[in-house]
């Protein structure tokens, strides 16, 4: 008889009882998104690394407060985002977002002509620049919802606001982007 895979809560319980492997199983699938969330808020790679590490330690120590019916990812990302916001208030220089070089790009099904590729890259750069010009609260909502592809509920968790606020920020952001473009 096949046994069911462990739930997030099963792993949390095992981690709480000192099983290092269970905590690694919980966290490993979310390391990228945790770091990127921290980076999108702090805009500094070194700060994002410190923030993500501190958040993991805080999450480990707070496992006792994890709710049985809750998914782990938004819970972890909320801790990451909270740490990142605290760090960002004190931080100085912010790095701008860049797109990867065309050769590394993961999107695009067929090989475009050189001219077509150049136009597409310019449009993508233009769109990212427009996102960067959004006010902070709208920019973060767009970053979480579209760039990180979080659900609306997860975005609300990460930003520490109600889901309705996420909707209205996204709506204003999209209007602004259309005007800007």
């Amino acid at each position: 008889m096949a046994s069911r895979p462990p739930t997030d809560f099963d792993l949390v319980e095992r981690a709480r009882h000192g099983e290092a492997e269970a905590f690694a199983l919980l966290v490993r699938p979310h390391e990228d998104i945790a770091f990127r969330t921290a980076y999108l808020i702090t805009r500094n790679a070194a700060d994002a690394e410190d923030v993500a590490q501190d958040a993991l330690v805080k999450a480990y120590r707070a496992l006792g407060r994890f709710r049985r019916d809750a998914p782990f990812r938004p819970w972890l990302l909320a801790i990451v985002a909270n740490e990142a916001r605290n760090r960002r208030r004190a931080a100085g220089r912010r790095e701008g977002l860049a797109l990867r070089a065309a050769g590394d790009a993961s999107s695009g099904d067929a090989a475009p002509s050189p001219e077509g590729a150049a136009v597409a890259a310019a449009e993508r750069r233009q769109l990212l620049d427009a996102v960067e010009r959004l006010p902070d609260d709208q920019r973060l909502a767009v970053a979480c919802r579209y760039l990180l592809e979080l659900s609306e509920q997860e975005t609300a968790h990460v930003l520490g606001v109600p889901a309705g606020t996420v909707k209205s920020r996204l709506s204003r952001a999209l209007d602004r982007l259309r005007e800007d473009l």
């Binding site: 009882h17 000192g18 099983e19 290092a20 492997e21 905590f23 690694a24 966290v27 490993r28 390391e31 990228d32 945790a34 770091f35 990127r36 980076y39 790679a45 994002a48 690394e49 993500a52 590490q53 993991l56 330690v57 480990y60 120590r61 977002l97 860049a98 797109l99 990867r100 790009a105 993961s106 999107s107 993508r124 769109l127 990212l128 996102v131 767009v142 579209y146 760039l147 990180l148 592809e149 999209l174 982007l177 259309r178």
Partner: protein
Amino acid sequence: MNELETRLRTLGPDVDYPETPDLLAAVEDRLAVRPRRRRGLRLAVALAVLAASLGAVLAASPGARSAFLELFHLSGATIARVDALPRAEALPDWAPGIPMPLADAQRRVGFRIRLPHTTGDKQVRNVLLDEQGGGVVSVVWCCKPTLVLTQFAGAAVPYLQKLASPETAIQAVEVDGKPGYWIADGPHVVLFRAQDGSFHDYELRVAGNVLLWVDGDVTLRLEGQLTRDEAIELASAVR
């Protein structure tokens, strides 16, 4: 989803993020098991520490008999029989320390880690190290019944404090010619000493049986759902 939202979503994978560092490896040392503080235990801890200091004098005093019925000493461990155990949760799979590979734990302690030749078909599930004093190593074997072997270099002041209920049997035994105690048939509470020398309430209500013994400069504690003879047989295979 409208066209702008689609364009934003396809932008996501092309954002040039810095490479994600190995976060788990970086925080491994900071992921220690956190002690839980419990008000109800403080008095018992204070009394236990006092009893350990005053030893037989306090145990023999009529005033203390209401709290302490007997005291047993074994190198780095003290067992106090009390008339009422503090309230503590039963956490049968719990052991203190930071999880790490056995080889890493061995490099970080000042004594040779003892292991049994055989634990049947059980696999080592976890090795935990609490780096106070000369280091305290707990090896946990999977699965039910879980076995936990804890060991540390004996200290002048006991590291391990046990509070046993009146119905708990505490019996002097020998493990391959080495002195020990068999603690069974009743719940007892284990307290571990913190780095600052105070007893942390790393409390653990143990429903299983425990064998404590001394091998050279190392005090060992084997916990699990074992009979006395099974425990002594397994302990005799620990080298």
